[in-house]
Structures are given as C-alpha cells and as structure tokens.
Symmetry: C2
Subunit: 242 residues, 2 copies
DNA sequence: ACGGTACGTGTACGCTGTACACCCGTCAAG
DNA sequence: CTTGACGGGTGTACAGCGTACACGTACCGT
C-alpha cells in the first residue's frame, strides 16, 4: 500500500513516536507507573491527551513501547568470551537496566507480545547459546528455564514483607511501634519456618528490583546455579552425541 | 483493643467475606479477570456495588483475597517422603491449582503482600526443606531461587507468540493468511535464532498457565534442574560442616 | 421496648481511556 | 499560484471505573 509514494521516508512512525515513548519512560521513572495516564503524559508534553493517539494506538501499545524502550537500553552482547561468561555478563547488564527503571520488570511481566528490542535481545542471547554449542532443543529448554531471569529479575516466591513503616509520623508513635512488633510476633508464631528464614536473611535494600526482595547476591546465586546446570546439560548432550 | 468483648467470635470477618471472594473467583474463572469490577461482581451477587465494601476494604484487597482463596486450594503437603519428592509433588499440586484458574498466576505476580493461605503454604514448603536437612540460610537461598516456581508457574522470558488467529472469519480469509505468513517470514529473517528455537518447540497448548508458553514438560524440566542443584548444594553444606 | 451493630442502598464525584468531528500547517501536483 | 491531501494538534463528549458519604433497615442482647 502506498508503495508509489517513495521519496524520503523509508519507515513509518519516523521520529515523533519515540519522543512520546521516551517522555513516558521518564515520567514513570519520576512519579511511578501508576501515575502515568494519557492525560498526565500529555500534560508533561504540553499537549492535549488525544494528540497521543496520533503516535500510539492506545494505552496498551504505549505501555508495550515503554518496556521495549527500556529493553533497548541493554548494552550489546560481548563477543570475545565463552557462552557462560558472556551470558552471565549480559544478564547482569540487563539487570542494571531494569534496576534503573523499577517499574519496568512488573510491566514486562504483564506484557503478552514482545517488541522489536525484546526480540533482538532474545535473539542475541539465544545466539550466544547456540554458537556456544547448545543444540536447538536444549537451547529452547534453557531459555524457558531462565524465564524472567534473562531480563535480570526474578519473580519472587513471596513479595516484600510489609515495609517497616517509613512514615515518620507513625514511626515516632511508640504505640504504633509496639502494635507492629506485636503483629510481628504473632506472625512469627503462626508461621515459624517463614520467620526463621526471614531472620536468616539480611537483605540489601538498595538492590530491590520490582516488588519483592531480590538483592544482587541472591540473584547471582540463582543465576549461577542455573548456568552451572546448563553447563552440565551441555556436557551430557555432547557425550551422548559422541 | 476490645479484648473485653470475648464471648463467641474468635475472629473477625466471619463468613460473608469468603462468599464475596468465592464469587469473585468464580466470576474471574468464567469471564476473565479483566471483567471483574466491583460493579460486575456486585451484579452477580444481586447486590449494589457499595455493599461489597462492607466485606473488603477496596478492590486491591479483593484481588488479594482472590489469590489467597486460590492458594488455599493447594492440597496439604505429603509427609511420608524425603524433601525432594515431597517438594516436587507439592509444587506440581500448586501448578494444577494455578492451571485451574488461569488468571491467578498473573495476579499473584503483581501482589505485594501475601495472605494467610500464601504464608501457610510457604511455611510448609520451607518446613519440608529444613526438616530435610537444609540449614536456614541455604533454605532461604533455595526459596529465592525457586521464585515463582513454588507457585507452579514460571514467568517466561518471552510471552506467547502471536496466537494463530482463532477468529474463524479471519482464518477463512486467504489474503489475511498470506499476510500472516509473510509477517512470519519477515520475523524469521529478522530474528533467525528466535525462529530456530521456536521451531524446535512444539508446545502442548493445553498446558498453558498464565500468559506465555510454559507447558508441563518444560516446567518439570526446569524444576528438576533446580531440585538437582539443591541436592548438590545440600551435599556440599553437609560435607563442609563435617 | 430499646439501642447498637451489621449489612444493604442511593447518590455523587473525580478520574480513566478513547470515539468523533474539527482545524491548521506543510508540501507535491495541477 | 492555486489546490487539495495529509500529518498532527484540538475540543467535546461518553461510558465505565473505584469509592466517599449519608441514609435506611433488620436483627439481637440487654
């Protein structure tokens, strides 16, 4: 369609759409994803809400574009090492990007169709495996096993415990503190094993990505466990084909 | 507070709240989570929307109650086996429950505070590990590594590929089919490794839980990879403390 | 008989996404 | 130079959402 009209524009949605997306990402970074509405976004762009619909089909597409814009920030893959260290470094790169946009992981988890940046990233991760010697079906299994971890975050089993009340007014109230401590004690007796595990963990609060406790050391722990498993599987596959 | 008033009621929210929650779960099962609003839910209960607020604080609490109600369906833990087979069976039980309520996994992924059923389930899973000989800190790491897999689902790296157009009107249109095939070919050339991996996979469409391709065999593959890793870690921990 | 308590009702408000009609600047073709 | 299509911003309007607030009403222990 309209193939006759060919003088300059080689692609549609040439420039303006990316501006909208970038503004949306910055807005979400600043005020949180929940505060990103067509109206607030339009306001930050100095434009009327309906103007956005000339660049994105609807809000869902806007959100999809936002996650893809974030994914596009992931640096390219290193090429001068083996699959193990390359994949590990790449995923930790992805994690850094996700940490920079705390809303992105939760949003990505809800998306149903990957954008071009996402596909490109996945393609390069898969390429690292296959050129590293993984047969296609094993690569497929391995990608599924990685799951959300390819994106640098891990969907946690149990989300963040009730945050210790950052509200200073409440924090100053000793009665509220006592009530909170009592609540804690009750929880500990009702769920003793959870309490024991929680006590065994001192989380680094700066490493949170998305909702849930998921600090850097734990992420790398799980990642390395998987990568080691993959290495074993690769070795098995090789001896079986010998 | 109100500790003097103690004659019959040992707990608040005695009966009616669970009816609301159950109706919400059934409604979501029938028409999908997106169609569950305070108004539609009230309509199915033959009641005015505001009546619900006598039983749940707000919609967020309603959603939390819904996921907890689903989690409560997970059968109790087997007690007559070792940690490995017990955990494996339990998680597959959880998966069955999640498969029965396709909206639940996505909703659970967005929750920030676990309900009592969730805590109880996690407590029992943790108990299986610790009584199986896992030291507390290792149990903690292991739980994090399991991540969403304790709930029987895996947040996938790349969500479901564009569903092959179930719409019969479109399916009958040969032009649309051709266009779709062309789109597919373009994707395959743009992302060759993704295409290769996708071709290596023939997914069982009946095993989907949540959004994304995640069939039973792949889930068990990843789960077993992790459980095997845990077994090795446990052995290491034992030899180190010897 | 009475007062509190638990529950359902009705109205109303502000917010959301977005359909539809309109208007204006730019630019290629007549 | 005129013209007309077209990309992009505008203004109005609507249905649906969560929910605050005030009001009924039926029960139940005193």
């Amino acid at each position: 369609m309209s193939a006759v009209n060919s003088h300059t524009a080689p692609e549609r949605t040439p420039l303006r759409r990316t501006a909208v997306l970038q503004a949306a990402v910055e807005l979400a970074d600043r005020v949180g994803l929940a505060e990103v509405s067509m109206r607030t976004l339009a306001r930050t762009l100095g434009v009327v809400p309906m103007a956005l619909y000339k660049h994105v089909a609807n809000k869902d597409e806007l959100l999809g574009g936002m996650v893809d814009a974030v994914i596009a920030e992931i640096p390219p893959a290193p090429t001068d090492t083996d699959w193990h260290t390359a994949t590990r470094a790449r995923i930790l790169d992805a994690r850094r990007v996700m940490l920079a946009h705390p809303w992105a992981s939760a949003l990505l988890a809800t998306r149903s169709q990957p954008g071009p940046a996402a596909l490109g990233y996945l393609d390069s991760v898969i390429a690292t495996f296959t050129t590293g010697g993984f047969p296609p079906t094993l690569t497929h299994q391995v990608m599924h096993t990685l799951g959300s971890r390819v994106w640098g975050f891990n969907l946690e089993a149990f989300p963040s415990p009730p945050p210790p009340s950052l509200d200073p007014a409440e924090a100053a109230d000793p009665a509220a503190l006592a009530a909170q401590a009592e609540m804690f004690r009750q929880l500990a007796t009702a769920y003793p094993h959870v309490a024991q595990i929680a006590a065994a963990a001192r989380h680094d609060p700066t490493g949170i990505v998305g909702p849930g406790c998921d600090d850097q050391a734990e992420f790398e722990f799980g990642l390395d466990l998987l990568l080691d498993g993959f290495r074993r599987l690769l070795a098995d596959a090789r001896t079986h084909t010998d």
